[in-house]
Amino acid sequence: MEVRITNVRKEFERFPALHDVSLDIKSGELIALLGPSGSGKTTLLRLIAGLEQPTKGAIFFGEEDASHKSIQERNVGFVFQHYALFRHMTVADNIGFGLKVRHGAARPSAKEIRRRASELLDLVQLSGLEKRYPAQLSGGQRQRVALARAMAIEPRVLLLDEPFGALDAQVRRELRRWLRDIHDATGHTTVFVTHDQEEALELADRVVVMSQGRIEQVGSADEIYDTPNSPFVYSFIGESSSVPVKVEDGEVWIADRPIGLSAPHVPNGEAVLFFRPHDIELLDSCNGCIAGTVAASRRLSGTRRVELEIGGERQRVEIELPVDHPAAQKSRVAFRPGRWKLFPVA
């Protein structure tokens, strides 16, 4: 099911949590809402579910305006970070709950509900645990049950709120791959919220980067990482270094020296230069480069992270060097970023 969010605004007691957010989610897509806490990603998810009502704007499921439909009518599957399983019910009863509460003809027979529950347990690889209670399961198992329960109602959209947030790193990675497999097998339109960019980039077809109640950028993992369209996305996704620079006639300057980068389409004035610390070219002679004195050097597993003091303003940038690179021992290093981007200072 396609989901269209048009110009949605949400205020909590006059405090805006989302400003004018619009987003098209394609049918069958696995999409991640990524952002720091307070960015509005969970609010957006809850609005889609109907757990909150938008202050302004509308949410469409397909062609149908769902904004004023009740939670029960929306038919969405929601999975919480802390599972929210029904403690007093067995695993099978948890999964069958959504079918059992239906009325009249919509309600399958008890036998059918049992069959469906065990089918879903097979899908989430927990066969044989029908009779267990949630207290008898591990965190990873509970989250699988929660997902099976959400899928039991054949939801139009599957919404996951930090589904792996409460699990340890090992289980998280495992479940991530598993969720991707399940999604590919079932084809549910799925929206999940995370603050873990690795999770978002690895898992999602498209990533929605959010900050302060706004969508900063929507795109595939490659687009988000390689062509960030705002300073926020550049610094939030992956490692980045930034230096304040000046642009004059298409040339980039740090303090009083040109650094050999040309930016013909950037207007004159102050700007910030962003680049990835590992994506640099080391230079022997500085004929238009960024040069600085080594202020600190740290060993990361495969590389060495070097902090350089550049220019006269004690500005520091970070770059990555191969562990055995002689430049790491030098007191002065010159380099030029490979891929970079300028954002004018407003």
């Binding site: 757990l51 939670i71 029960q72 038919n75 919480f80 802390h82 929210a84 209670y133 207290a135 008898q136």
Partner: protein
Amino acid sequence: MTTAPAQAGWRFRQPSVIPGFGLMLGFSLAYLTLIILIPLSGLVWRSAALGWADFWAIVIDRRTINALGISFGAAFAAAVVNVVFGTIVAWVLVRYRFPGRRIADAMVDLPFALPTAVAGIALTTLYAPNGWIGKLLMPLGIKVAYTPLGIVIALVFIGLPFVVRTVQPIMEEIDKEVEEVAATLGASRFQIITRILFPGLAPAIITGFALAFARGVGEYGSVIFIAGNLPYKSEIAPLLIVIRLEEYNYPAATAIATIMLALSFVMLLVVNLVQSWSRKRYG
């Protein structure tokens, strides 16, 4: 879930790193012995002096049986009423924000603090045939004061805080997400309450019921004013004990007390078993 390795027979639980295990255990046992066990065994001892035949004669005496029936029956009825309305009161206090909520919350505790005789007199005045409420009930043919119904009302008053105060904290802990998830799965408000919330609250409700019931069985002060105290009709067991004491018939008094003790113990034991069963099951 971690399971302790199987152990043969009884063993002391391994004391934790916190010191004072022996001291605290010893103190607790001594304290319980002094405060509860000695007085109660004194009771049993005194009634044992009666001999089996005399004891049995007192037990099957019509007046004793009726008094016990009234005490336990009224306490049971009052506890049932309290479970229903106490849960509703707790729900309102936990879930809604309204002006005067804190005052209402504090008011729940009044039956704890008020001398029970005061409560009894106040209720009698209200429900007597010429009282404010009694006057309205009279034309309907309902007589409250000086009947078993009056006893139930007094016990409802006394028992309310026990239910509210045991259910309230558990209700506050209910995870909102569990309700939200149930709603997304299509459950109506009513289904959420009956299928999700109520089963979660059941252990607390059972505890509240047990406490209110136990309190009701032993209540004396408020009941004697409103009950009318007609032998065989509205005479409660604690009153019968006092009457026997005033007649210097100590063996009869202790015998009735012993029966009450045994019945109460059995009922509380059953309630505790039900509770530990549900706790084991739902974790």
